[in-house]
């Protein structure tokens, strides 16, 4: 159908108000940006102010020292990742950035990377989860340090808060019968935002 037309007999219409196009669109954009990202920025700013006040905070990537997971086994954190906790049974370290976490733990293990993956799921994840779903097929990845690892996703509901978590496990066997597990996780939907960084930190594994 065509555009509306006025008949000759019709009284003249008042001029149509000028349609604002850019201003309301810009307003919608700003609202979307503030609502969707404002909280994440606020959390990031709060953490930054916390670490700025910490004289022991690590400097940038290039100068950051490796973090020891187990004697002679280390990884290098990227910018923004901080050591939040150290584990002792098994030995390991927890790195966090905003709402994302990378747990790296090492312990004696005999078997394949796939068996290590299953053992970690069985002994570390399942006891904490009220629901857990793990990848049916594991990916084989080659670490820069020369090790072959198994990698797979998992989803679950964890803790008293019943938080819905998604994560990715990378498991490898090191010399001397040491198994190392990298467990990167975040609330469901947000892990992919840090997945590349977690992968790079996993690749930074150094032994000896």
């Amino acid at each position: 159908m065509g555009h509306p037309e006025q008949s000759v007999a019709a009284p003249p219409s008042p001029p149509a108000p000028k349609e604002r196009k850019w201003l309301p669109t810009l307003a919608v954009f700003l609202v979307l940006a503030v609502v969707s990202l404002g909280g994440l920025f606020a959390v990031g700013a709060a953490e930054e102010s916390f670490t700025e006040g910490d004289p022991g905070a690590d400097p940038g990537t290039e100068t950051r020292p490796p973090v020891v997971v187990l004697e002679s086994v280390s990884i290098t954190p990227l910018d923004g990742w901080e050591v939040a906790e150290r584990f002792h049974d098994p030995e390991g370290v927890r790195l966090t950035k905003g709402t994302a976490t990378l747990d790296a733990v090492a312990f004696s293990f005999q078997g394949t990377p796939e068996e290590l993956f299953d053992a970690y799921v069985e002994n570390a994840l399942i006891p904490q989860a009220s629901q857990l779903q793990t990848a049916e097929q594991l990916e084989v990845v080659h670490l820069d340090a020369g090790f072959t690892a198994a990698r797979g996703f998992y989803f679950g509901v964890f803790g008293e808060r019943n938080a819905s978590i998604e994560g990715e496990l990378t498991t490898a066997l090191l010399p001397g019968g040491i198994g190392i597990v990298f467990d990167g996780w975040a609330e469901t939907g947000s892990y992919r935002l840090v997945r590349d960084e977690v992968d790079r930190m996993v690749q930074s594994l150094r032994v000896g």
């Binding site: 037309e5 979307l32 609502v35 779903q133 469901t188």
Partner: protein
């Protein structure tokens, strides 16, 4: 509003605008966000499919069973002017893709911020109620605003706002439910079925479709009542309806009035779930039903106003208008004629009724004896003549 006022200000039913308005900046914002968040959504669904392939397929099959009838119900609620299909799909996509993805970031960020400032036990119970109701409702309502900015003429009454809002909400609910079935209920067949019972069978009447439908009504009221209501009143109604949607969402997510049995559910506890969801959802559902009925009544009055000048001309007769005003009477008339003259006659009557609704649309778009109006009147007459030429179709009054 008085009937005279309605006839003075006619709806713009005759206009059809597609989603693809390249001259509107809002279209580019819409397309950009759908593109960016679409990539994220596809990646997320791929992940679900990899981790729980059977559960993922089952989730989508079950949700299709829910979403398709709801989609059609909402679409056909607008009795006289069905919205352009590209805009309708755009609204659904906004809810399914953009709003859900942005809500993930919003809920995680604001949730973490709120949780830090509260006692951990209190936060565990209240964070879902203190974040999702406002973040998700704003993100979904923004989709209705964008649809309006893209095709302003298509939202010409509050019923249109409900349709677009409800479809945004439906899209959101579908993707959110896939997420719940896989990530929260475990993705196994049993978990997906329990999730389907809890989130769709027991709760499907009360959730996002209604929340955003109500927000959409508020947006439509604000945008379509210029010149009829003061800015303050329009703003008040829009904010009020949006506030009610948020309040209903808050109540749903909060531990208040929580009569849900503790998992795992067994036997009669499934019935208790139905009761628990009804306690939280039925009052809001009743409110929305009343609002929709009021909006439909107004559209009905508009139909009368639009066709007032046409009755008695060749396009529509008084008795035909009386039937046209009620969907139930229209269906009854088609059933009766099918009984007397067969399916073909019923189909032809349906076509005549649809073209008479189109006559109302044309009449709202042009004045006087515009060629479009003359053509539409003649088309309706031709359909009526063809109908009456079929044996057994002529109404008794004409014998």
């Amino acid at each position: 509003m008085a009937a005279t006022g309605l006839s003075d200000r006619r709806p713009r039913w005759g206009h059809r605008t597609s989603l693809f308005q390249f001259g509107q900046p809002a279209f580019y914002l819409f397309a950009l966000l759908i593109g960016l968040t679409g990539w994220f959504t596809v990646a997320q669904q791929n992940l679900f499919r990899e981790v729980a392939p059977e559960g993922w397929v089952l989730s989508w099959l079950l949700l299709l069973l829910y979403a398709l009838p709801v989609f059609l119900l909402v679409y056909y609620l607008d009795l006289y002017e069905r919205e352009p299909i590209s805009l309708v799909i755009g609204a659904f996509l906004w809810g399914a893709v953009a709003a859900t993805t942005l809500a993930i970031f919003a809920n995680i960020g604001w949730g973490a911020l709120i949780a830090r400032s509260l006692d951990p036990d209190f936060a565990a119970r209240w964070v879902p109620a203190l974040t999702a109701p406002w973040t998700e409702e704003i993100l979904k309502a923004a989709g209705v605003v964008l649809i309006y900015l893209i095709a302003r003429r298509e939202i010409d009454d509050i019923m249109d706002g409900f349709v677009y809002g409800a479809l945004v909400g439906l899209g959101f609910a579908v993707i959110e439910n896939v997420f719940y079935f896989i990530a929260v209920f475990g993705g196994e067949t049993e978990g997906v079925l329990v999730g389907f019972f809890l989130r769709v069978i027991a709760s499907g009447l009360y959730g996002h479709v209604l929340y955003t439908g109500l927000s959409g009504m508020g947006i439509a009221y604000f945008t379509t009542r210029r010149g009829e209501a003061s800015l303050g009143k329009r703003l008040g109604v829009a904010i009020g309806l949006f506030g009610i949607a948020m309040l209903a969402h808050f109540l749903w997510n909060s531990p208040l009035m929580d009569f849900f049995p503790l998992p795992p559910l067994e036997g009669a506890e499934f019935a208790q779930v139905l009761l628990a969801t009804a306690v939280k959802g039925v009052p809001f559902l009743a409110f929305v039903v009343v609002m929709v009925r009021l909006a439909r009544r107004r559209e009905n009055r508009w139909l009368q106003a639009a066709l007032a000048g046409e009755v008695g001309k060749e396009g529509i007769r008084q008795e035909e208008l009386a039937v046209l005003e009620s969907p139930r009477d229209r269906r009854r008339a088609r059933r009766e004629i099918a009984g007397r003259a067969g399916r073909g006659a019923s189909d032809l009557l349906k076509r005549l009724q649809r073209q008479q609704v189109n006559l109302a649309m044309v009449a709202t778009r042009v004045d006087g004896d515009h060629p479009d109006l003359l053509r539409q009147r003649a088309y309706c007459k031709a359909l009526r003549d063809a109908l009456h030429a079929m044996p057994g179709t002529r109404p008794e009054v004409s014998r």
